[in-house]
Subunit: 344 residues, 2 copies
Amino acid sequence: MPKKNQPLNLEDIAERAGVSRSTVSRVINNEPYVSQKTRMKVEQVIEEVGFTPNPVARMLVTQKTRIIGVVIPHTLDDVFDDPFYFPTLLQGVAETTNANDYGMLLWLGQSDEDEARFHRRVLQNRLMDGLILVSIRVNDPWIEQLLESDIPFTMVERPRQFEEHVSYVGLDNVQAAQMAVKHLIGLGYQRIGTITGALDNYDALDRLDGYKIALENAGRDVDETLIADGDFRYQSGYDAMQYLLSQGVDAVFAASDRMAMGALQALQEADLRVPDDVALVGFDDLPGALRSKPPLTTIHQPIRQKGARAAEILLNLIEGEITAPQQVILPTKLVVRQSCGGAD
Amino acid sequence: MPKKNQPLNLEDIAERAGVSRSTVSRVINNEPYVSQKTRMKVEQVIEEVGFTPNPVARMLVTQKTRIIGVVIPHTLDDVFDDPFYFPTLLQGVAETTNANDYGMLLWLGQSDEDEARFHRRVLQNRLMDGLILVSIRVNDPWIEQLLESDIPFTMVERPRQFEEHVSYVGLDNVQAAQMAVKHLIGLGYQRIGTITGALDNYDALDRLDGYKIALENAGRDVDETLIADGDFRYQSGYDAMQYLLSQGVDAVFAASDRMAMGALQALQEADLRVPDDVALVGFDDLPGALRSKPPLTTIHQPIRQKGARAAEILLNLIEGEITAPQQVILPTKLVVRQSCGGAD
DNA sequence: CAATTTTCTGGGAGCGTTCCCAGAATAATG
DNA sequence: CATTATTCTGGGAACGCTCCCAGAAAATTG
């Protein structure tokens, strides 16, 4: 028998096993009401010919694809100045999807593509049971559109709009930034500046808030001239640090490690020592933070878990295990190294 | 009219436009033999209700999914010591898939998952028209299995087995490594060592070959004691450098920038100056190479294009534009910075 | 052991498309 | 204006599953 390249189907298996299509289907889906004997026979045939049911046909009837989308809009160049974050997050998502036999469709916004087109492509492609939104900008229409479309989705930042209607896995950014700044205050620094992340980003806003709150809690005034706008990237940290030096600071909280490293560079070029002349705290705890000179005091965040949890919530939403939006805040912790001083 | 949440189908559109299902299908697929008048009418209705045809139903009949898979087997921890590579490659792939309205299904092998299970999940999931294989290890069964299964696929490294049967986009690694080492020779270094990549990786093998060839071409003997095994990662570069110092070297070619940076660290700790005491050349031209101290001489490779081209070839293969396997070698170039000396 | 319940099995319908074919309408021909 | 060629249109069949229902077989009852 010439086995032509085998798109076998249920009926073929049924025939070979001497049963009906329906029975084979029952066996495959582990349904009850199949006698032990026929079940074994069918399983044997399936094993023999290496049959896998056509997922597309199944999707068509069940109206479920077992695919989730991961959307990273806007060009990645921003995100990728810290290329560590994104792959780690994806690994977290994959952890969950792999374990639950879901697929993961990745949507990367292209720099030269207009946003509307990208939105349409993703939203109209009705191939996904749900979506994970990564690094959504403040006021981005994604959230609203998705809420209307009633496609289940989760975010990996705490949004500020629609917060109670949206599922997300976030950090206690405010709290974390507060910890960092409080630590600097505790060490006796007087003029503590900050380098913010891109202020169209939810995390950046929260970290800035945390900075302010920490100062206020310590009974200090927030000096707006000590707040330098950055965008999470190395270069912006470098530039911001130069500005802050002109303002006079003795400590700086940077909203990302990449910026802290940029700041470090600026300080070194100005022949200033860290932490003796200026203390530095970052955020993220990148692998490189450990190796910088001096090693960077920073806030550790569990990126991988963020992805994994976000995917878990999404799957629960999809499978109707839960129906109300779910919000999770993952813990961060302050990792004290040498860049903030006070260790000795 | 209470618009219940709208899974409209062709027939619904047909009704509203006063035509038949078939005609609507023709309009959507831009087929001829539709009168201008009805075409306009149908298009208007589609626009009005915002209809998109169900992709799953379409897949079922056309037997095409317009989805490609990107497979990164094995745990990513290796790959992610250099997290830059992988996202950049994905961006390249996305460039092509976005432009051609394909989706990109990402498969990340999980560390705790056995390989066989992973293979099955990806191969049996007949949801992809083709695959891109990233960072496949030497002798990995993937290649053979895929060749048998006649699923179109491309690789982003030049494999050493089945080379003529496989489509790939690679680098002229041998040539590139040769350039690097030749450059060191030209600068007069005498004891030139190398730190290899993980030797179960095709690129690593080629780069090692290039190193040897360069020495031979210069009429020198290859001294095996000056070849230190690394695995592309920072730490391995550090360790290997310490070994090479014990052997006595005045220049080192590292098969990745990450390892070169690790080596740099080892050199600094040994109070040796680069390039005065030991010269260093890396591979990859990571963004960080520019910022290391001293800036790293390295081989630049077009990662993003690699992804884009691999995807292009795959789509051609899928759509039958080409049928024979296609091999592409992308150019690399030597970027001379300070770490190799001779600049002044 | 007849009557009822329970387990098991097969076939029809349907998911929403595309493809194919036949027939209607229109245009081009002698 | 009859005939042929061409454009246009609609409906059946198929893709490969799951779901539902009805009927057969087996197990459980009084």
